[in-house]
């Protein structure tokens, strides 16, 4: 029965699939696929999965009634350990915010797009407008504070205990940029 195979195909496909592709995969005519999709829509009535036509193709989705439970099950903060690149990027954003993307790269001595993207994806940092030269600015998020157990960014630990040259009186930002350029 073709509705069954269609259900399996749409279940597996991550994106909407056009009728023509379904017909190719099943080695049947497009008309049979269309009829099969009708039958599938009927079979899915009252089930947890719904059939939708989207963006030129067909796809399966979860029933909206299950959304709240799905959020409880799946939308948990992802907190794998930070890689060294992510920790450095996050510390620069946390201590200097708002800080521009080029500044982060200057301090770290390497482009930091992928670290910044991972931190953004996990909701630890976010864009905070643009610098006067149009560069993206970053700041930390409320989720960042929560995941680090901080009430505000003023609660960040004093970097002095890890500071290799604490006698330097210049501002943190200038010192980081200077050190970054010396390394670069």
């Amino acid at each position: 029965m073709i509705a069954r195979e269609l259900e399996a195909l749409l279940f597996l496909a991550p994106d909407p699939v056009p009728v023509a592709e379904l017909a190719d995969a099943l080695r049947v005519e497009a008309e049979e696929v269309v009829a099969g999709l009708d039958a599938l829509a009927v079979a899915l009535a009252g089930r947890g999965i719904v059939l939708r036509e989207l963006a030129g193709g067909w796809t399966l989705g979860s029933h909206p009634d299950a959304e709240e439970a799905a959020r409880r099950l799946l939308a948990r903060p992802r907190t794998p350990s930070l890689t060294p690149a992510q920790a450095e990027t996050l510390s620069i954003v946390a201590y200097l915010q708002p800080v521009s993307r080029p500044e982060v790269a200057r301090i770290r001595g390497v482009a930091s797009e992928s670290a910044a993207a991972a931190l953004t994806e996990r909701g630890l940092i976010e864009e905070a407008g643009r610098s006067q030269f149009g560069a993206v600015l970053y700041r930390t998020t409320p989720l960042f504070l929560k995941l680090f157990g901080l009430r505000s960014v003023d609660d960040l630990p004093d970097a002095a205990q890890w500071d290799p040259s604490p006698e330097d009186q210049a501002a943190l930002r200038d010192r980081l940029l200077r050190a970054g350029e010396a390394r670069g």
Binding site: A75, A87, E88
Partner: protein, 252 residues
């Protein structure tokens, strides 16, 4: 049990006779296993199979088990130290028992392995979804978040970034030196105005400085800080601060 393998007639550098005689000589340590070229036995067996023109699976399996056990014994013999002593202490009867133990353990896992391989083949029919979560489910709600990281990792990371490597001692180098950071600083100074002519950055400079300045400009481009325009070949180059939003030209 089939005994095809043990009757295999061998003609090796160090031994001529049936395979089971070779086995027993090895087990009784009358023949040094280290001197037996096991590959020769395998080749002889393959010839023997070829000559027979049919494959007795049970016999072939038995041969494989025996040869695997010999290989293992040999590799152990080649290892110095306690393993060797342990083996030396074994009387021939014990060595046979040991070999038997190995053969049995091996037979067990060979069977289990074949079962796993078959299980995998059977399971290939079922495919699983690997679609990303819908966007609404990708971000965790704030209320659910609990502390997962120590703030100290940020302080440590920042401390390491404050470390300046010791400056290289370049006094012994006679050639005038232009540093990239220095030229980067010059370009960044000019960039604060939003736009400037490249000529301005290298006015009165030597060729080395010009080259390093050009390199610095490329570096700024790579880092997304600057871009430039040049209307004609060898014409003036206008450098401007770059924005990822695509804003071009001067920004006051």
């Amino acid at each position: 049990m089939a005994s095809d393998a043990v009757h295999l007639e061998l003609d090796l550098d160090v031994f001529a006779g049936p395979f089971d005689l070779l086995l027993s000589l090895i087990l009784r340590e009358e023949l040094d296993l280290l001197e037996v070229e096991l590959a020769e036995i395998v080749l002889a067996y393959l010839d023997h199979l070829g000559a027979r023109g049919e494959l007795d699976l049970e016999a072939a399996t038995e041969f494989l088990v025996l040869i695997a056990a010999l290989l293992e014994l040999k590799s152990r013999l080649m290892l110095p130290g306690e393993e060797l002593e342990e083996l030396d202490e074994l009387a021939p009867g014990e060595a046979a028992e040991e070999l038997l133990e190995r053969l049995l353990a091996y037979a067990r896992f060979r069977g289990a392995g074949a079962d796993l391989a078959a299980r995998r083949e059977a399971e290939q029919g079922v495919l699983y979804r690997s679609a990303p979560l819908p966007p609404a489910l990708r971000r965790a709600p704030l209320e659910q978040a609990e502390q997962a990281y120590e703030p100290a990792i940020l302080g440590q990371a920042l401390g390491s970034l404050l470390r300046t490597p010791p400056a290289l001692d370049l006094r012994h180098i006679a050639t005038p030196r232009v540093s990239l950071p220095e030229r980067l600083a010059v370009l960044r100074g000019l960039l604060r105005r939003g736009t400037f002519a490249f000529d301005e950055a290298v006015r009165g400079a030597d060729r080395m400085t010009e080259a390093v300045t050009l390199y610095a400009l490329l570096e700024l481009y790579k880092r997304g800080e600057a871009a430039w325009e040049q209307d004609a070949s060898f014409g003036p180059v206008t450098v401007h601060a770059r924005s990822s939003a695509g804003v071009t030209g001067a920004v006051a």
